[in-house]
Symmetry: C2
Subunit: 484 residues, 2 copies
């Protein structure tokens, strides 16, 4: 494949250019393979596809570590080829999810901020090979990442061997978008010097130990990212409720008038909320989050978003083309950092983040299930929701009050699985309303959640459950006898 | 009451000296009262007792905020007098616990590091009166706290009125033991500059707005603290298992040879563990924890503990007398900080704390219940266990495998209440053994926990439950149909 000048500035790297199939040969059965990628952005594509192909005639299995979810060329293709034995720390791929829930793939669900330190501390074993997508190798041999940072800096530092994918579909102008910083390990760690969303604390590229370089593969496969559908009626109403809540917090002096930086899960509610705040005249918003989506570019262009810090840039194909033509402009307002920094409790508490995450279900006592459908089937994983919600200035969880046309209540008597406990859930929002749980007892929470958040069709059922609890096993948190 | 010279150095304060009964009159029905105290150490005593007495003829109720648990003169006396309507954020008093579980007192269970910022952000409403125990008021009017710091700095800053209890049973030499630091509020917070357990980052005393001073009461009632019974057989075996585990971590390079600072819950297991490590020749231990107990003094005297940072000094009456005669010596090795700093995620991650907390029960998937007996009755509260376990370098939960002579298994199919989720529990230790859960799936965790930690009499029952789960609702985390 032909590549522009400047893509591979270092001779050492040029001498290691090889076909994806050849690089894939470096990966053997039982190896631990760690890759770049966070959402379908910046993950390696050519080598994983070659690996999947090889597995058809030569079956083998690996442990796969990433930043978070990745594109179908990696999680999908390798799952279908039976290559993934174990997967850490997060995923959203349909085929992989099915394999996890059938027992075909072992999945370990980890707080995203915990992943890099756990690797460095040796808690997850040795990394045999790191595969990392870059846009460019500089003359000094340092790597310029592409559309995500994730755990790549730590993977590159810790892996025995390194395979680089140079993706020529990603623009060279991404150089300068990244801020690479690895904290020292205890007991020698110093304060992480980030004090403003826009602070640059690290380097734009990553130096590696070149003795570990095993191969360089050139590819032009694009990120498998898609746009999000426009928000539905429920999402709009949830966003309106969040906006009304935040407005009241400002009016009553519990939030600064110009608000605080936002973290938001991926999707329509967050977009609708940010837009709604602008409608209220609140300007100069800042984002300190994981994923930078389409709407962030719009808000920047409209002059409403001062700065966005994330660990991945996940744009629809249309927005991506637009971004690629205007990288220089956007680079002044966007920065990508390692997920250990984007999700770091130290920084999240310091900046005072307003955290907005979604729930699969919430129970009447304010516990939240973010991961398991029906308590047993894995959906995606906890992701960064724990990093942000535990440390936020204010922590909001949203969910529609019911799903499947009202057949399933998302406000339940008791969560079938708990990822966020009563101690971490400050505000629950549905399209029905807002439950402000700060300073409330479990029983007060139950009354507020049933009244304000449950679907009207489910209120009587939930109220009846709560009454029976109070009759059967009273106490701080009443429950039914069989639940004891 | 006669007091030594130097106890009240400021005229403004001397002019406000009054009887406890008179100070108690300042507290009216429905007020929010915030006091010093963390464990039965450094809490006000005379005014609460006067309040309880007043309530006998003039019933009234208050919301009571503290650092954590406090002595019986406060939580006990006020509960028995029916004065407490609402209590935040932690308690261990028998009478109060009963009142909470009968619905007589509303209890809000909060992460201890969250309390001060929630107050400053206005999330828990306005504080009408702060009552704070001190050993001394300096000539410049600044307050020298006594045996705990807790939330006192923020309570004093935020309260409308201030009552000071000068406790002459606490030695004047405590001056210099405290390190008072309140972080800036977002968005202006800077890094908390603490980088070593022994770093002093703040002031030894607290300046207040003297216009808020409403009364100064002199008392000589001693802290209601008691020693802990010597560790029982199970605690000893748990400690041995923890030591063996830590030794292996050092040997295999996952922990530095001279270890990292410890956090430990209150009680015998922690003491036995620290002692055991010394037996292994591991020296120069450091403690970055909440409570400094008797054994810490012994370890310091033996030259084995380099430094201990906490938020309260909770000694048995015998050790207290010894400490009081040797304060100057111990002050070089002990520091008390606000609980917002002792329990701060930023500091806990930076220092790389080894966290040791106890569980009421743990389930086979690695979730932990720290608060509720039988899922409905409050025991004490979550305390600082969430602050430490989520952010620790390594997080250990311990429990005997069974209680009440084997009648109750502490390893259960499903926790009746969850305070620490599968994402936060890295290691479970019982007297039976150690379950190292790092990098394991829920199903792998179940096998290890049942095999290594459950009481032998309960293993078959737990194994049977796990098998039935796998048959009924398979998936990432198998469960029974009725648990869905």
């Amino acid at each position: 494949m032909e590549i522009e000048e400047g893509r591979i500035g270092s001779r050492v790297f040029r001498e290691k250019v090889m076909e994806a199939e050849e690089a894939a040969e470096l990966i053997k059965d039982s190896m631990v393979v760690a890759t770049s990628g966070f959402t379908p952005a910046g993950y390696p594509k050519a080598v994983p596809l070659a690996l999947a192909q090889r597995a058809e005639k030569d079956p083998f299995q690996i442990t796969l570590l990433t930043g978070a979810s990745v594109g179908d060329e990696l999680d999908g293709a390798l799952t279908r080829a039976g290559v993934i034995a174990r997967r850490i720390p997060y995923q959203t791929n349909k085929d992989l999810r099915e394999a996890i829930n059938c027992g075909g793939v072992k999945f370990v669900d980890v707080h995203l901020s915990h992943m890099a330190p756990m690797i460095r501390y040796g808690f997850l074993g040795n990394i045999d090979v790191a595969i990392v997508e870059v846009v460019k190798i500089r003359e000094d041999g340092s790597l310029v990442l592409s559309t995500s940072v994730g755990n790549s800096p730590t993977f590159l530092e810790q892996a025995d061997k390194i395979i680089i994918e140079v993706n020529i579909s990603q623009p060279l102008e991404l150089e300068g978008l990244h801020d690479i910083f690895i904290p020292e390990d205890p007991p020698h760690r110093r304060p992480i010097p980030l004090q403003r969303v826009s602070d640059r604390i690290g380097e734009p590229s990553i130096k590696i130990d070149e003795r570990k370089l095993a191969g360089v593969v050139i590819t032009d496969i694009k990120d498998d990212s898609r746009g999000f559908p426009p928000p539905d009626e429920n999402s709009k109403r949830i966003a309106e409720n969040i906006i009304r809540f935040l407005k009241k917090e400002i009016d009553e002096g519990r939030l600064p008038p110009d608000l605080l930086p936002f973290q938001s899960g991926v999707g329509g509610i967050a977009n609708a909320t940010l837009r709604g705040l602008l409608g209220l005249g609140i300007k100069d918003l800042e984002l300190y989050s994981e994923v930078i989506q389409d709407s962030v570019l719009d808000l920047i262009e409209e002059g409403c978003l001062k700065f966005a810090s994330g660990t991945s840039l996940t744009l629809s194909p249309e927005k991506r083309d637009y971004f690629n033509k205007n990288v220089e402009k956007f680079k002044e307002k966007i920065m990508l950092r390692p997920q250990e920094i984007s999700n770091n409790p130290e920084i999240i508490r310091r900046l005072g983040i307003i955290a907005m995450n979604t729930a699969i279900e919430a129970d009447i006592y304010g516990n939240v299930n973010s991961t398991h459908i029906g308590g047993h089937k894995m959906m995606n994983g906890i992701g960064g929701s724990g990093d942000f919600s535990r440390n936020a200035y204010i922590s909001i969880f949203s969910t529609p009050s019911s799903r499947k046309g009202g057949e399933i209540s998302c406000i339940v008597p008791r969560c079938s699985h708990i990822d966020h406990t009563e101690h971490d859930v400050q505000v629950i929002v549905t399209e029905q309303g807002v439950a402000d749980l700060r300073g409330k007892t479990p029983q007060e929470k139950a009354e507020i959640i049933i009244e304000n958040c449950a679907h009207p069709d489910c209120r009587a059922m939930l109220g009846d459950y709560f009454s029976r609890c109070k009759n059967e096993c009273f106490g701080q948190t009443p429950c039914l006898k069989r639940e004891k």
